[in-house]
Amino acid sequence: MRGRVLAVEGGVLLILGAAFIVTGRFMGAAIVIGLASLAAACAWALWPAQR
């Protein structure tokens, strides 16, 4: 459950990061994509523990 929630969080933040790139707000994009990668790492670390 937690792994999936964090994976969704990572996905949404990644999309938001892409939107920031498209609108030319590169600092926002860098911050949000950084958070997305943290969320992805977190989802990866917690995913097997669920099984």
Binding site: G28, L38, C42
Partner: protein
Amino acid sequence: MWGYAAVGADIYTALGIITLAALGLAPLAFLAAGIVFALVGLCYAELASAYPLAGGGQYFTLRGLGDLSGLVAGAALVLDYTIDISLFTVVAFGYFNYFLPWITFGHHITDFTTTIGPIHLAWLWLVESLVGILVLIWLNVRGIKVSTNFNEIIGTIAIVAQTVIVLAGFVLVWKPELVSHEFLFDRPSLSQFAFGSSLAIIAFVGLETISQVAQETRRPATIIPRTSIGLVISVLLFAMAFSVLAVGLVQPTEFRGHEGDPVALIASKIPIIGIVAAPLTAAIGALIVFISANSGVVSSSRLSYSMSQFDLLPAWFSRVSKRFATPARAVVVFGGVALLQTIFAFFTPGPPGKSAAIDVLADLYAFGATTGYLLVFISLFVLRLKDPFTPRPYKMPLNIRMTYKGNQVWFPVLGLLGFLGVLFFLIMVILTHQYARIVGPLWVIAAVVLFMLYRRKRGLPMFKTLPRDWETATKKVLLEAEEFKSLEEYEAALNEHRARMADRR
């Protein structure tokens, strides 16, 4: 058991205090502390999976550096657990007080204060916090535990709620331009930043708590590293996400008066969902932070029990109540210390119109954790050299191979970086925390005096480490933890070492 509820609560407590201290650079303060404490987390993952015993940092230091260092690490960590009880109970009622206007027809917590000279006493908040701590003492003396399932459910609800707030906040209202503006024009002074980043330890210190349950974890070699790394990253993720969100959403000064419910303030600023998210966040915050305060009571009693088992503290502390089968004495003593700290914090003079309680308790924090972690890193180096035989199911990454006394050992490069980082934070705490730099060393000195009196009474050497059969202890632990493969590896490594020693002779 390895619940997010006990660890994830830290950001609910830390966000307001740190943003007020580090202002526009609050995310950097969290990041600096987060990087160092990710290294601490990796160090704990290695040591807790290699030595899965209750006692955490104190036990690792005892194994690596001996009795006196083990005592200092244990005493320092117990100090932070007692402050954890006080601070987290006060903040739990900060979130609870979000609902105060609903039950008192519009009165806020600031309406329930009185001024005594320079002291601005929030008397209702003080009474609530004292009752909260007494309830925790009662629960732990009676042995009424929060069930693992309940902890898991609360932890999951907290993660879901935090995720919703983070996503809604970033998508609907977060402004990167405001972050840049705050970075450039709302910068703290160097000492404010040092103070803020050393306070950010609060957001990560729950990691010590998880090592306390290592002994009760079945198959610790598999479970501990993965879970602790997952927790380290998730705590870092939410600490970073909330601090960046806060700076891109509100002026840092808006947290003034909201030190007790900072995440609820963030939730209230989110359009559309804010009206529901804010009270929901306050309710979850109150519960999760109170659970975290309870983990302070549990951990301080476990730690003092472990210390008295190794003759570092009088056996009085490890005596179990006949009626309730709980370490009632340790619970009452350290709960009592938390009560005194809370009273001290509420009666400390603060800025006009504001209670200084949270500021004082936050200031007191961090000396114990940084001192304890520093000794744990030194123990990591020593144990890598002195005890290469104990199987390490998880090793901190980046190691240099060396030969020490005929044995092949691995020196941890990341461990060295972690040590330097924690040393830096300890120096920052001593330089910038006006209460911790006095109370912390005094507490450790008092523990050393108690240790010397106890050892003298028992006729034991005061400064020498008592001889202990670590080999048998390690085998017993691995057997009880059902780590049969590790047990085989340990015996094989010892036999190989003995054969090599015999050949040399």
